[in-house]
C-alpha cells in the first residue's frame, strides 16, 4: 500500500510557524476561561480553610451559616456522601478535613450561596474549635526517629535509591556542598475555577480548568459516591497550568455543592486562596559530593536529597524518582549513589511543577560542576563538554540514551552564542535596581554562568501511558473538513496547533476543527512531562494514518486519485486510535533499569550584572541551545523556551513562597514576585534538531528543559560576578551583601540515608 502524502499543497503543516487556532478569540477577549463560565440560576461556592498547620478538630458549628440569607448549602466532613479520599498517587487526602488538619489552608467546609459575597460571609460564620498540635515544618526533622507521625503510614512518602557502579570508590579530587531550593509557585494567571451542573439522572457535569480530565474523573467519582459513567468532565478554558492543575482542587467540592443544591455551582479561587489551594514545587535540601580525576573526568556522584512533600503525597513519589534518576545530570558518571526521600510535613502540599524533580537536583549538581571546575582549574564549559553524555551512554540508572544525546553539541553551541555588548550601562533602568535608580554603576559587576540539564519525556517506571484521538474526515458545503477529538488539555502550550498541523500534513486538508476535550472519549493522559506532542500528537498521527488507509483503498476501488477528497468522501471516514509509547520498566531496588522513554537536554548561558552594594541583580542575556528532536511549530517552541526560562529566572532571583511555621507569608502578587518585562532579558535561542525515531516527526517535547538549567546558569553568573557561594535559590539581596554561606542545619554524609542526619 502506498502511503505517499496527498499531492495537494496545504498551508500550516508540520515544521511551519502556524498561528494558534484559538489566537483570535484570545486577542479579542472572547475566549471563555473557566472563571468566565456562567449559567442561569448559578450559585457561588466558597471554602473554609484551616488557619492551623496542625490541629485536632474538636467541633464544627454551622447552624448560623446555614441560616444566613442566600445560603443554599453548607457541607462539612460529617455530611459527605462517602469517606473516600483522593490523591494523584496515594489516596491520602480527605475531601474535607475530618478530625485533624495537616496544613494551613486545608479545606474544612464548603458553602454554596446565591452570590459570591453571601458565600464568603457564610464561610466566616462557621465556627471550628481547633486544638492546635505541634507542627513539623522541616522535612529532615520529619524523618528523624521520634518525630510525630503525620500519617498512619509514617512520614516517608516515598524513597528512591539509585546505586550505580561502585559508589564508594575514591577519586583524586572531591568537592562537597549542600544546597537548597525554596518553594516555588506555578502562579498560572488564570485562577482555579470550575462549574458543576447537576444532571437529571443524578449525575453531574463538571466544566473545569485542569491538566488531565480522566485522572480528575478517577478521583472525583468515588468521592461523590457515583460511578464514573455518571460524571462527565469537560475542559474549560485554561489560563496556564505549569503543574498546578494536575491535582484535584475545587473539582470535588463544586460537584458536591451542585449535587446537594440541584443547581449549577461555580467556584473560583481568588489569588490568595489560589496560593493555599494548589500544590507547589517541592522545596528541597540536597547534600552532594562529586569526585573526579585530575584530568577532570567524573568518577562518582553521591547525593542525599530530601524533598518536602507537605501534608499530602500528591505526585511526590514521581518527583522523588526524577530527582534521583537525573541527580547526576547529563554526564557520564560511572559510579553513583543517590538517596532521595520525600517527607510528609505540615507545610502546604507540594506536587507537580514544570521540571518536576529535575529542577531541584540540577541546581545542586550544576553548582557542584562549577565547584569542581574551579578546584581543577578547568574552564566550566570545558569540564561539561568533557563529561557530556553521548548517544548510547548509560545514565546513572544504567539506561542508555537512545535517539539523541547531543549534550556536547548543545554545550558548545550555547557557549559560542554571541555575548551582549559589554560597555558600561548609563541608563539606570538597565542597571540592577532599575527604576529605583539605586546605582550609577559603581558597584556593578558582570558575570557569566553556564549550566546543562536533563529530564525524561512522558511517564516513566511502568506507568501505562497512552493517549486517544479520534479523527473524522468528511465533506460539507465548503469542501473537505477534518475534525479531531481528544481529551487532551490545552493549557497554553499550543497542543491545539500541533494537532491541526499534523492533520494537515497527513491528510492534506486545510480545514481542521477541534472538538471540545471531554471524558466521552478515552484518556489523553496529562498535559505534563513534556508529553502531549509525543502522546496526543502521536495518537492524532496514528488516527490520520488509519483514515488515510481507508482513503487510499477507496481511491483504488473507484480509480480516483487519492487526493481527490471531494470524490472520495461521500461517506465520512472515522477512526479512533489509542497510542502508547514503548514499555518502561518499574523501579527496582537499585533503580538500575530502563525506567524512562527518552531524555530531553538543554544548555543555558546567563549574563548578569550584580550590584554588590545593594545585592540587586539584572540578568542581561540568556543564551540557550535545546535538543528538541524536531520543531513542529518553531514559533511555539521558541515561546515555550522563553516562557520556561522566565520561570527559571524567577526561581533564581525572586520567586519564593515564604513559609513561617507552615503559614504562607506572601500569598499575593504584591509579595510573591514574578518576572516582568523589566526582569526578563533578551533570549538567544538555538534549536538543535535530531529527530527521535519513536516520536511523531521526531519531536521530543520541549516544555520543561528551559526551566531546569536556566536557574543554575543564572546563579552561576551571579557567583562569577560576586565570588559569593550562593547555594540556595532564590538568591536574595542579603545573600550577596552579607555573604553568609547557606547552611541546612543538618550534617549528612552525601549518599547516606537522611534518617541518619544529625543536627549541625
Amino acid at each position: 500500500m502506498s502511503t505517499s502524502a496527498p499531492r495537494v499543497r496545504v498551508r500550516g503543516v508540520v515544521g511551519e510557524s502556524v498561528e494558534r487556532p484559538d489566537a483570535v478569540p484570545k486577542v479579542k477577549g472572547e475566549f471563555e476561561y473557566a472563571s468566565d463560565l456562567r449559567r442561569d440560576g448559578m450559585l457561588f461556592g466558597a471554602t473554609l480553610r484551616s488557619p492551623h498547620a496542625h490541629a485536632r478538630i474538636a467541633g464544627i458549628e454551622t447552624s448560623a451559616a446555614k441560616r444566613m440569607s442566600g445560603v443554599r448549602a453548607v457541607i462539612t466532613s460529617g455530611e459527605l456522601p462517602t469517606r473516600e479520599r483522593f490523591g494523584l498517587m496515594k489516596l491520602d487526602q480527605p475531601v474535607l478535613a475530618t478530625e485533624r488538619v495537616r496544613y494551613v489552608g486545608e479545606p474544612v467546609a464548603i458553602v454554596a450561596a446565591d452570590s459570591a459575597e453571601e458565600a464568603r460571609l457564610a464561610v466566616r460564620a462557621i465556627t471550628v474549635r481547633y486544638e492546635p498540635l505541634a507542627a513539623i515544618t522541616d522535612p529532615v526533622a520529619a524523618l528523624q526517629q521520634g518525630a510525630e507521625q503525620l500519617h498512619r503510614s509514617g512520614n516517608v512518602i516515598d524513597e528512591v535509591i539509585v546505586v550505580h557502579g561502585d559508589p564508594d570508590t575514591r577519586a583524586d579530587v572531591v568537592v562537597e556542598g549542600e544546597y537548597e531550593v525554596a518553594m516555588q509557585d506555578q502562579a498560572a494567571l488564570g485562577p482555579e475555577a470550575g462549574l458543576a451542573i447537576p444532571r437529571r439522572d443524578g449525575g453531574v457535569d463538571l466544566h473545569v480548568a485542569t491538566q488531565w480530565l480522566h485522572e480528575d474523573l478517577r478521583q472525583i467519582a468515588p468521592c461523590l459516591g457515583l460511578p464514573e459513567s455518571k460524571v462527565r468532565l469537560v475542559l474549560a478554558g485554561v489560563g496556564g497550568a505549569f503543574g498546578a492543575r494536575e491535582d484535584v482542587t475545587l473539582q470535588i467540592h463544586t460537584c458536591l455543592l451542585a449535587l446537594a443544591t440541584r443547581r449549577p455551582v461555580r467556584m473560583t479561587y481568588g489569588r490568595e486562596e489560589s496560593f493555599y489551594g494548589h500544590v507547589h514545587r517541592h522545596p528541597a535540601k540536597l547534600f552532594y559530593a562529586h569526585g573526579a580525576t585530575k584530568r577532570g573526568e567524573l568518577v562518582f556522584v553521591r547525593a542525599t536529597i530530601v524533598l518536602d512533600g507537605g501534608a499530602y503525597a500528591s505526585s511526590s513519589p514521581a518527583v522523588i524518582a526524577n530527582a534521583a534518576c537525573f541527580g547526576a545530570g547529563p554526564y557520564r558518571v560511572p559510579n553513583a549513589r543517590i538517596h532521595a526521600v520525600g517527607a510528609y510535613t505540615n507545610n502546604p502540599p507540594a506536587g507537580a511543577m514544570r521540571g518536576f524533580g529535575a529542577v531541584q537536583s540540577c541546581f545542586a549538581y550544576e553548582g557542584q560542576m562549577d565547584a569542581l571546575a574551579a578546584k581543577l582549574g578547568i574552564d566550566p564549559v570545558e569540564l561539561r563538554e568533557r563529561n557530556a553524555l553521548r548517544n548510547g551512554d548509560p545514565i546513572i540508572t544504567s539506561q542508555p540514551v537512545e535517539g539523541s544525546a547531543p549534550v556536547a553539541e548543545i554545550v558548545r553551541r550555547c557557549a559560542d552564542a554571541p555575548l551582549p555588548p559589554r560597555g558600561p550601562e548609563t541608563d539606570p533602568i538597565a542597571l540592577p535596581g532599575g527604576a529605583g535608580n539605586l546605582t550609577h554603576g559603581e558597584g556593578v559587576r558582570r558575570g557569566v554562568g553556564f549550566a546543562v540539564g536533563m529530564k525524561n519525556v512522558c511517564y516513566s517506571h511502568g506507568f501505562d501511558d497512552f493517549a486517544t484521538a479520534r479523527v473524522r474526515l468528511m465533506r460539507d458545503e465548503r469542501g473537505p473538513l477534518a475534525r479531531v477529538h481528544t481529551a487532551a488539555a490545552e493549557v497554553g502550550q499550543g497542543l491545539v496547533t500541533v494537532c491541526v498541523q499534523i492533520v494537515r500534513t497527513e491528510l492534506g486538508v486545510e480545514r481542521v476543527e477541534l472538538d471540545p476535550p471531554d471524558t466521552t472519549i478515552g484518556s489523553a493522559g496529562s498535559s505534563s512531562a513534556s508529553r502531549q506532542t509525543w502522546m496526543t500528537g502521536g495518537a492524532v498521527l496514528a488516527a490520520c494514518r488509519e483514515v488515510k488507509a481507508v482513503l487510499l483503498s477507496r481511491a483504488r476501488a473507484t480509480g480516483r486519485p487519492p487526493d481527490d477528497l471531494a470524490a472520495l468522501l461521500d461517506e465520512p471516514i472515522d477512526k479512533t486510535v489509542s497510542h502508547r509509547h514503548r514499555d518502561t520498566e518499574p523501579r527496582d531496588a537499585a533503580t538500575q533499569n530502563a525506567g524512562h522513554v527518552a531524555f530531553l537536554f538543554a544548555a543555558h548561558r546567563a549574563v548578569a550584572d550584580v550590584d554588590i552594594e545593594t545585592g540587586l541583580i539584572k540578568v542581561v542575556q540568556i543564551a540557550t541551545a535545546q535538543d528538541v528532536g524536531k520543531a513542529i511549530n518553531p514559533l511555539a517552541v521558541v515561546g515555550q523556551i522563553e516562557g520556561g526560562i522566565a520561570q527559571g529566572l524567577g526561581l533564581a532571583v525572586m520567586e519564593e513562597v515564604i513559609l513561617k511555621d507552615g503559614h504562607v507569608r506572601n500569598a499575593s502578587f504584591t509579595d510573591y514576585l514574578l518576572p516582568t518585562t523589566l526582569d526578563m532579558p533578551p533570549v538567544v535561542t538555538l534549536l538543535i534538531e535530531h529527530p527521535h525515531p519513536d516520536a511523531p516527526y521526531g519531536a521530543k517535547g520541549v516544555g520543561e528543559p528551559p526551566t531546569i538549567s536556566s536557574t543554575p546558569a543564572i546563579v552561576a553568573a551571579i557567583r562569577a560576578a560576586t565570588g559569593r557561594t550562593l547555594h540556595r535559590v532564590p538568591v536574595r539581596p542579603d545573600d550577596i551583601v552579607f555573604d553568609e554561606p547557606y547552611r541546612s542545619g543538618w550534617r549528612i554524609t552525601p549518599g547516606d540515608d537522611p534518617r541518619r542526619a544529625v543536627r549541625a
Binding site: 502562579a187 497554553g492 502578587f669
Partner: protein
C-alpha cells in the same frame, strides 16, 4: 448610575466596594477583562478610563459614573481585528492568553501615546502586565509589529 461602556450608555447598580472589574465582568456581560490578582499587580484587568490606562480592579465602580470606559471588547470591529490584536495573534505572543486582553489594551494605550517606542520604552510601559507563559519575547515583538502596522505602512 450611568456610564458609557464601549460606546453605549449603560445603566448600572453597584455595591459600595465593588470594583469596576467586577461590574464589567459580572454585571455588564463583559468578561474580556480578566481577574488574576485583584491588587493592581498583574494588569490582566487593564481598561481605558476616559482614554487613560487603568487597572479596573483598583477602580471603584461607583467612581466611574458618567465616565467613559473602553475594554478589550471594543478594540475589534466588524472590519476585523485591531492591528494590535492581529500582531499578538501572528507573532506567538499568545499562549494561554489570560494576560492577553490586558496586554492588548496596554499596548493600544502605549502606541496611541508613543507610536514608535524603543524596546526599553515598551518594557517600561508594559512592566505592570504580567505574563506567566511567554517570557515576553514574542510580546515585545508583537508591539513592534503593531507599531509598524499602525504608523509606518
Amino acid at each position: 448610575m450611568k456610564l458609557n461602556v464601549n460606546g453605549s450608555e449603560r445603566d448600572l447598580e453597584v455595591d459600595d466596594h465593588e470594583s469596576l472589574l467586577t461590574a464589567l465582568r459580572e454585571r455588564l456581560g463583559l468578561p474580556g477583562s480578566k481577574n488574576a490578582c485583584e491588587q493592581g499587580e498583574c494588569g490582566s484587568c487593564s481598561v481605558l478610563l476616559d482614554g487613560a490606562l487603568v487597572c479596573s480592579c483598583l477602580v471603584l465602580a461607583g467612581a466611574v459614573a458618567g465616565r467613559d470606559v473602553r475594554t478589550v471588547e471594543a478594540l475589534s470591529d466588524d472590519e476585523g481585528l485591531h492591528p494590535v490584536q492581529r500582531a499578538f495573534a501572528e507573532t506567538g505572543a499568545v499562549q494561554c492568553g489570560f494576560c492577553t486582553p490586558g496586554l492588548v489594551v496596554a499596548t493600544y494605550a502605549l502606541l496611541t501615546e508613543n507610536p514608535e517606542p524603543s524596546d526599553r520604552e515598551v518594557r517600561e510601559a508594559l512592566s505592570g502586565n504580567i505574563c506567566r507563559c511567554t517570557g515576553y519575547g514574542r510580546i515585545l515583538e508583537a508591539v513592534q509589529r503593531a507599531s509598524a502596522a499602525m504608523y509606518r505602512r
